[in-house]
Amino acid sequence: MSDEKPILDEFYVDAVAEVLNIGMGSAAASLSEMINDEVKLSVPGVKFVTRLVATEHIAEKAKSDVSGVHQYFQGAFGGDAMLLFPEEQSLQLVRAVLQQDDMTLEDLTEMEQEAMTEIGNVILNSCLCSMADMFGKEMRGEIPEFVQGSVEQVLTDDTRKSQNTEAIVLLLNMDFSVDSKNIQGYVTFLMDVDEVMQLKQNIQVFLGE
């Protein structure tokens, strides 16, 4: 992909952003009910970038490792959806959600990873559902899994399907607001070129082009 030519035209991206924001609304509602506290979610920025750019972008914010949830999906288009947080931010999120302020990073045990997985699951499902609705097509999400490591590792894990260096990332900056805390995370949809073309076609259909 050359730098000059965007992967997808801007108005496609805007359409995706709009739809994802609707998805976030329902995710926030589900999370609020789950943890019995108001959760607000917003997606201030959506863009398509190369995996390298995505890696750099996230790495710039996350000084250390990242942790989060990934979930394969297929249907209208396929890929690997991920919700990622810089580790300190993920800790903040779990603390807020579990309402245990004194928990340290070391306390983030398997059980807390599970909680993280569930939160990610709700958000990612909402994103996927909103896109499935938008395209009027079937989207199937797999069982989510917890991931942890450097941005590099997480975004290029060989065990996953999209290890293609040409992979494209639909990168969403995401703001969490819970328990009067603001937490920044990222939602990424890691796709190979074919899948991006699928997505583009779906959007074109949606836009009636």
């Binding site: 249907g75 959600v97 398997e110 569930e118 989207m139 199937r140 069982i143 989510p144």
Partner: protein, 714 residues
């Protein structure tokens, strides 16, 4: 064949479904329960047959509005899989174990889409109670461990901060003596940094030497490791390191755990360079005389005690010399203390030159010196003492225009090892020195040991108690010796010198030579003086009462040098004269030349007061003190008593005669009346008459007679 395989395959799946150790639930599009496996029968308490076709929320009403319900919806309508955690999910399936405890569940909800597009939902429930409980325990344990390790870290931090801030240098080692840690003070004193010596043995860089011998001292850490006890040292250690030399105090303590196993050591040391130098200086000052640099009395006694201890075991002879300068007072009083100090310094040099290397010379007091002669026989000791005496005698001390001839009286005592204390030997030598002084100064006198049976010192000691008893019981008697006018030899004057005698237990009369030296020595002379004064007045009072108070009476009363400083006595005399109303000119007070000079200032004050009152003053034993005539001008005197030693041989010794002539001449020039003592015969008397001496006193004129005999009351 193919059908058979298929049938088998289905059978296998059925078995897997039935035998699965997790819960499996299948829901259809209408949310109705299609099937669940026996695991759920077992844990839910429901029989599949009775609940099949019902909605899950009917079977388990608790699931209404739960994450599980949402997950099922999402799977059936959106083909989304859901993972429901036990952590966040407040509404799990009400599934229980055998003993009725709620199962901790991990739930996964997945869409199943059949080939005919028929949708189902598969719910998988895994019992994670065991791992949940294990984790809970681990978490608690981790929290406890963390609390403990935080506390340990805090303690360690505190210990580290303490180590870094204390003034002592501290090094810790392992059980082999290898350095584990070192604080900043240790780094400074050793001139190394911790990293340089870590895992080195302390003995590799902690080098000690002995302050005095400069010999290396074995590393105390090694010693401690060997003995497993605390090794402490507070003297003589010098640390020699890259940062220089330091006097240090050091101690090493073993670190031994509860099982008695040696874990290592702690070496603590401190720079005491300054304090040790200071204490060395103080020690020197405490044990030495700053003027002459000689050991002082304290140090001398220590040296002597050491020698005493030695004398007990060896069979060698040792001696002690006690030196007293004869003319020091004169120099000090006529030329000032600077001269006196200079004299002492020069005398020290003279004495030092005449001594053997092993002899110890010390300054014991103002003008008193002591010499310890180790391994020195009697004859040798006498020879050394005489050498010293001659050296001093041959020395002339010059100060500005003055030149003084100095003498020294020396007492010798033997150190036999029998003596209990140094002070005993010192007293013996002192007593011998006193005898030397008494017998005319500038001589050496050997202390007579107890074995010889007549120790002056011992005798004096006995006299102390006798004197005290005599004072308490008035066992003294007053004697008189007439002082005769030479020109009017045929007239009997009423001029007497008062003399004192002690009355013994048997009524025997004891001469003053027997007890006065002891009285002088032991500070009883003042009391004797007072007794004499009081009793003279008593006698006179008795005479007056009997109407026999003599006319033209002059009574000469001897006062000691000590009394010159006794204001109470002065007051008493003054009071007695006033109260009795006896004419003051009836009393003459005699002080020896030596006593007057020794306390010149006090004597002048004391005698002036009496003289102002109207009393007469006589300077006794003039000539014996070898003093300068200059004193005569200062002292307020009326009579000059020429020392009898010059008088008694006047008939045969021309030098003595010349002495008496010159003393008389000086006296006459100064308008003093001269009195010659020891006038034993008429021949002397006629020579005195020729010379022009005013008065004479002696056995040839009048033998001392009891007061009551001279002036009988009845």
């Amino acid at each position: 064949m193919c059908l058979q395989n298929l049938a088998n395959s289905q059978l296998i799946y059925q078995h897997i479904f039935s035998e699965s150790e997790s819960g499996l639930i299948v829901i259809d599009k209408e949310y109705g329960l299609v099937n669940w496996n026996p695991w759920l029968d077992k844990h839910s308490g429901f029989d599949l047959k009775h609940v099949q076709g019902k909605k899950l929320t009917e079977i388990f009403p608790v699931l209404e509005n739960s994450s599980i319900e949402r997950g099922i919806f999402s799977a059936l309508n959106h083909s989304m899989s859901t993972s429901v955690s036990h952590t966040l999910n407040r509404k799990p399936f009400p599934l229980k174990n055998k003993i009725g405890q709620l199962l901790q569940q991990q739930i996964m909800i997945k869409p199943i889409i059949m080939e005919d597009r028929q949708r189902y939902c598969l719910i998988q429930i895994i019992d994670i109670s065991a791992s949940f409980n294990r984790e809970k325990q681990l978490l608690e344990q981790a929290k406890r461990t963390k609390a403990v390790s935080e506390k340990l870290a805090e303690e360690k931090e505190r210990a580290q901060v303490t180590l870094n801030s204390i003034v002592d240098a501290v090094i810790t080692t392992d059980e082999q003596g290898y350095v584990l840690s070192m604080n900043p003070v240790a780094e400074v004193l050793l001139g190394v940094i911790e990293e340089q010596v870590q895992y080195k043995r302390v003995s590799d860089f902690f080098k000690l030497i002995n302050e005095k011998t400069r010999n290396p001292i074995p590393c105390p850490v090694a010693e401690c490791l060997k003995s497993q006890t605390i090794i402490e040292n507070e003297k003589e250690h010098i640390l020699v390191g890259a940062a220089g030399r330091f006097s240090i105090n050091d101690s090493v303590s073993p670190i031994i755990n509860d099982d008695g196993v040696m874990l290592g050591t702690v070496l603590v040391f401190r720079d005491v360079t300054q304090s040790r130098a200071l204490s060395a200086e103080l020690n020197w000052q405490a044990s030495h005389d700053p003027l002459t640099g000689l050991a002082n009395r304290r140090q001398f006694e220590i040296d002597m005690n050491n020698l005493l201890t030695k004398a007990k075991s060896d069979n060698l002879q040792h001696h002690l010399l006690y030196l007293d300068l004869d003319q020091f007072k004169v120099v000090n009083d006529t030329c000032g203390h600077d001269a006196g100090d200079e004299l002492l310094i020069q005398i020290t040099e003279i004495l030092d030159k005449k001594l053997r290397k092993s002899d110890v010379l010390s300054r014991l007091g103002g003008d008193e010196f002591g010499v310890l002669l180790e391994s020195c026989g009697v004859e040798n000791a006498l020879a050394i003492a005489n050498n010293l005496r001659q050296a001093v005698e041959g020395f002339r001390f010059g100060w500005h225009t003055h030149s003084f001839k100095i003498g020294v009286s020396i007492g010798i005592a033997e150190i036999t090892g029998e003596e209990a204390k140094a002070s005993e030997v010192l007293s013996a030598a002192d007593a011998a020195c006193y005898v030397a002084k008494e017998s005319g100064r500038n001589r050496v006198c050997f202390h007579e040991t107890e074995a010889s049976g007549s120790s002056t010192h011992q005798q004096e000691m006995q006299w102390v108690s006798r004197l005290q008893a005599a004072l308490d019981n008035d066992c003294f008697e007053l004697f008189l010796q007439r002082i005769q006018c030479v020109e009017c030899a045929d007239e009997e004057s009423e001029h007497y010198e008062i003399l004192i005698r002690m009355v013994g237990d048997e009524g025997e009369i004891i001469p003053p030579g027997a007890f006065l030296p002891a009285a002088e020595r032991f500070n009883l002379i003042g009391s004797v003086d007072t007794w004499v004064v009081e009793n003279v007045f008593k006698k006179l009072e008795a005479l007056r009462s009997a109407n026999r108070y003599p006319k033209n009476l002059i009574l000469s009363i001897n006062l000691s040098g000590t009394s010159m400083a006794n204001d109470d006595l002065l007051e008493r005399i003054s009071c007695l004269i006033d109260e009795s109303d006896f004419p003051a000119e009836n009393f003459c007070f005699e002080v020896t030349e030596t006593a007057a000079i020794a306390n010149l200032k006090q004597a002048t004050t004391f005698l002036s007061s009496l003289r102002e009152k109207g009393c007469k003053i006589a300077l006794d034993d003039f000539g014996s003190g070898l003093s300068s005539f200059a004193y005569l001008k200062q002292l307020p005197i009326d009579y000059l008593k020429i020392d009898g030693l010059f008088v008694k041989d006047i008939a045969v010794d021309n030098i003595d005669k010349a002495f008496v002539e010159s003393i008389n001449q000086i006296g006459q020039v100064m308008s003093l009346k001269t009195i010659a003592e020891f006038v034993e015969n008429d021949e002397i008397m006629s020579i005195l008459m020729d010379i022009g001496v005013n008065y004479a006193q002696g056995y040839g004129i009048h033998k001392p007679t009891a007061f009551d005999e001279v002036f009988p009351i009845t």
